[in-house]
Amino acid sequence: MSTSSRTLTNSVHPPGKTCLAFSMDGKYAYTGGSDSIVRIFHVEKGKDQEPDAAAEAEDNITALTAANECWLSASEDSYIRTYTAGKNTFNGLAGSVKGATINCIAVDPKGKRIAVASDELMVKISDLDNISNVQIVDGFKRGVRKVTWDPSGSLLTVSCGDGTIAVWDVSEEQPTRLEVIDGIIPAVTDSESEEFMHDCSAVWHPTGQRFYAASRTHDIVAISRATWTKSETLSDPSVTGSHTAIALSANGAFLASACGSEVLIWSTQKRRVLSRLQSTPSAVTIQLAFSPSQNLLAWIDTQGGFTRVSNAIATEFGDPIKDSAAANVQGQVISRKKTPTPWEDDADVDLDAVGGDDGLFGGEDWIIDDIGGGMQDKPERQDKGDGYVKEMVSITKAQSAFQPGSTPMSVLKRRYLAYNMIGVIEVTDQDTHHIVNVEFHDRSARKSYHFTDHFKHDLASSGERGAVFACPPEQDNPAQVIYKPYGVWSTQGEWTYILPKGQRVLGVAAGGNKAMKSLRENSDSGGDLQGHGNVVVATSAGDLTFISGSGVEQIILGLEGEFVTMAAAEEYVIVVHRPGATTIDGSQGLLATVISYEDFEVLQEKPLPIPKGHILKWIGITDQGIPAIYDSAGYLHIMINFRRPNRATWARLLDTNAWERKQGKDESYWPVGCSNETFHCLILKGRQEYPGFPRPLIQELPIRMPFRIKDTTEEELLRIHINLARDALPDDEVSAPDLDRRELELDKITIRLIQAACKTDKQPRALELAKRLNLPQSLAAAHKVAAFYKLHGLREKFEALIEWREETMTPAEEARERRRALGDEDAPMAMPKPFQDFNAPPRVDRPGLARPTGIVEHSEFSSSNAGLRPIREKATGLSMSRSASPEGKRKRDEDDHMLNGTESDVKRRALGDAPSPATNSSTIIYRPLLILPNSFYQTPSLERTLRQQIPTLSHESPI
């Protein structure tokens, strides 16, 4: 037996429902699909064989099975056909189901009877020899998806669309129902859905003592025959999705299950994953089969790909065919040790297994026999020990890492990698490559683009300044991260960051300052001053790598525990990780850490307020730059006070379950973003978990704080945002007038509440509300309200309050004063565009209409202020012509300054005199580099123009 496994994949059918069966001798494999052809593969032959085809069916092949002498196919044309084993010789019909799709056919182990499951609410069992001899098993509420026989051929297990597994005894003439097991397999009622194609059959162990089925909780469970209850569970933390197909090896020692793009090989005795095989990504494996005669595993997927893996079970694990004791006895013994609950039935099983098996070896014997060395024994024992501990405690499944705003690949081979308030990154799978489409909501600011992606990036994040992509390692190619800044036409700005071999990227986030205006205009101003932002990469090496937008590695921080997700804001990144473990009672134990890009200091560390048994669904940044989270319980929280170190708390802003619109509807919300008063989300109908294609419209739903008393909501929300905005102010982010406006708004609401309180004579409440007023004029208004309602006591209290306010300055007022000062300084820079200016027109300064002032006579010693004047005034050289007529009795202040300026430059000589053109022409520029002849300055006007042209020269040199 060669030890290396060999994988052969053929594309044999068009995409759609496919099916697979091995012949009884294991020499042939039959595959069927939506091309209505059954192909017969020789298992021995390689990939390039030309399989025989049986093309009698007139519609899609929906099920295949094999008996001793023949094989059977069921087609959507409602007929079941029999063929000679291994050949495409058509022998006749074995039955038909009119008007319903046949979902499954199964021949009993003796090869005598065939059970037919269809969308009808019953299962028909007929003899293969005499198809008119029919037994009916009925009483199902939904169409039957799968049907299987137990190894003795007396029991029939029926997996029904309503999520039940029914066990029927069909050994007698009249079938009797033994048990209906509910709650194991998922209920799938829509026969068109992809989930309906998943293999939910109950797979019997060769001993007939239990059967396995893929559960709705993404485990594989074994149901014991003695009690018809769950006797053991096969679970693995790496399993994130449902098992789409399961199969048992011929001796029952190994179980194969398909999950996502992997096929897991489990040991049924150790109940753990032994190895993993890669299946076709993006295709769903819907049927798995072990060869009955050799170490061969085959599967078929929705893309019509048929894969055979020879030596799928590595030798060190054992043999899938040999009816060894390992499969039964040893397994039973261990399971008895492990399973704490059903003692009796395990003992039962044990006895039965021992009785039913011929070649009994001791467990240890078997291992030594097969491998020839006890070396492998030790790790196995350790594993057992591990398994013991884990089995004793039912541990909450840890949430795996995810990227906010991403979805898994849909049936249409499309997915979202990122969906946020900036834009959408969509991926279309084209088998050999991906097409990545990057689109922005604001098309005026950033340009949408798309590119062909040969790396098949599976993580992405779009930030303010650029989009970052990451791909997993594949074969020889290491994992890598690509950052593409926006607004850069060429590939100049983008960079690639390659991880060492064996490391994976768990999450990426891109953050950066909000663009002041269009990013496309960057090049006009000669480069972007604000840079390309920041990129944070979480890797499987347990670190967070900070990389600047230009591709310079900045720091690598260690991250305690497992990384879960992160989001990047303008100046910080919030990372969610699990420092410890999940707790027994269902808590995920997640912690959020806010780390600033500057100095990498931790601003906050705060556990997430997720209810027990729920998981984090989304993390994002609101448009005010505040961290926000949304969990599967339907709560939205924002982190308030996050800018004050160690003062952060999570404020619950929204309880989607309490929404009026949700009442009586089955819908969920997929968050996209959050702003002051609205929650931006996509609404998912029914049990939908992720948004589909084409892209749904973003819905804006109002944020209502989940207060129990209804009238304060609006006010509190505003207050929170004002406080947050106030915190943000040292960074000059929120414009001051905006905040003032909001404070005024808040005061208006408060005054209304005060009025309501006065009306109902609730004076303490009115007083309490009044204390919260921000502006002094609002207090005056409150005073008036009290006066109106003739509440004199309250009025006096308000008066006292006003007095007290006048004396002391509240922190809010201080902050406002500071903001005002800042606002005044910035005012000229924030000039609004025409038509967007809603302020009063600016005051026009008219110096001509200014009040004249009396002339100031300057003496030689009076111009002490000369040094204070701006240099610019000297450069203009205006004063020559003006000073030519100083005898004007009334002069403006301004002109005096001018006069003084030039005079001081002219060595303060002849201050009171009128500088005549003659004196002027005799002035010499004392500058060694440039000496002009006197005649050059013939006229004052010429001189003036020259001086204006060389201003630097003229004011440096004394004239």
């Binding site: 308030m421 604001d442 098309r443 005026s444 702003s675 931006h680 419209l697 967007q836 809603f838």
Partner: protein, 187 residues
């Protein structure tokens, strides 16, 4: 309308459309814009992907430049119109619809049919609605008398349609009714 020029005393449908274009609709802008003053008022700011309310004429203008998606009003859905149509056909009175539904739906479907889910179905429903309502207003013509006629929930386009006929014929009727009284007064 197949009326001679002299009888065309009412405004044309195009003019009605122009009037309807002043109504506010919701859009999902694809460009950002500050709050901007127009003669009819200040609209904006536009901040994608947040929705914004602007007059229909502006929405059309932006849509034609591919700078926004128009969010169809909540009455412009298959469910709503279907329900109104069944009410229209089963009950004698006019069902309640937005006053300018005909104009707005026409404009929205003309300009932004890609933003309206099931646009074709909605078109046929609107046509059915119009026919059902037209039949009713013809019936109303029979009840006409000199003094008053009450047709609640009639929409602008329909009023406009029947206005010339109604005004004239009611004028005539009132003349006919008044005549004998006058004569009696003379005597």
């Amino acid at each position: 309308m197949s009326l001679p020029q002299s009888l065309r005393v009412s405004v044309t449908p195009l003019e009605l459309e122009l009037i309807a274009c002043e109504q506010l609709v919701e859009i999902v802008p694809l460009i950002s814009m500050e709050k901007t003053a127009f003669i009819s008022g200040a609209y904006g700011p536009l901040r994608p992907p947040s929705k914004s309310k602007v007059p229909l004429w502006m929405a059309i203008n932006l849509k034609l430049k591919k700078k926004c998606h128009i969010v169809p009003p909540e009455w412009l859905t298959v469910d709503f119109l279907q329900e109104r149509l069944s009410r229209e056909t089963s009950q004698p009175q006019f069902s309640k619809l937005p006053f300018r539904f005909a104009e707005i739906s026409k404009v929205v479907l003309d300009v932004a049919s890609d933003d309206v889910p099931n646009a074709d179905k909605i078109r046929s429903l609107l046509k059915d609605l119009r026919e059902a309502r037209q039949a009713k207003s013809r019936e109303g013509l029979q009840q006409i008398d000199h003094s008053e006629l009450s047709l609640p929930n009639l929409c602008s386009m329909e009023i406009n349609e029947i206005r010339p006929v109604f005004v004239q014929s009611m004028g005539l009727l009132s003349q006919l009714v008044r005549e004998p009284e006058n004569r009696a007064g003379d005597v």
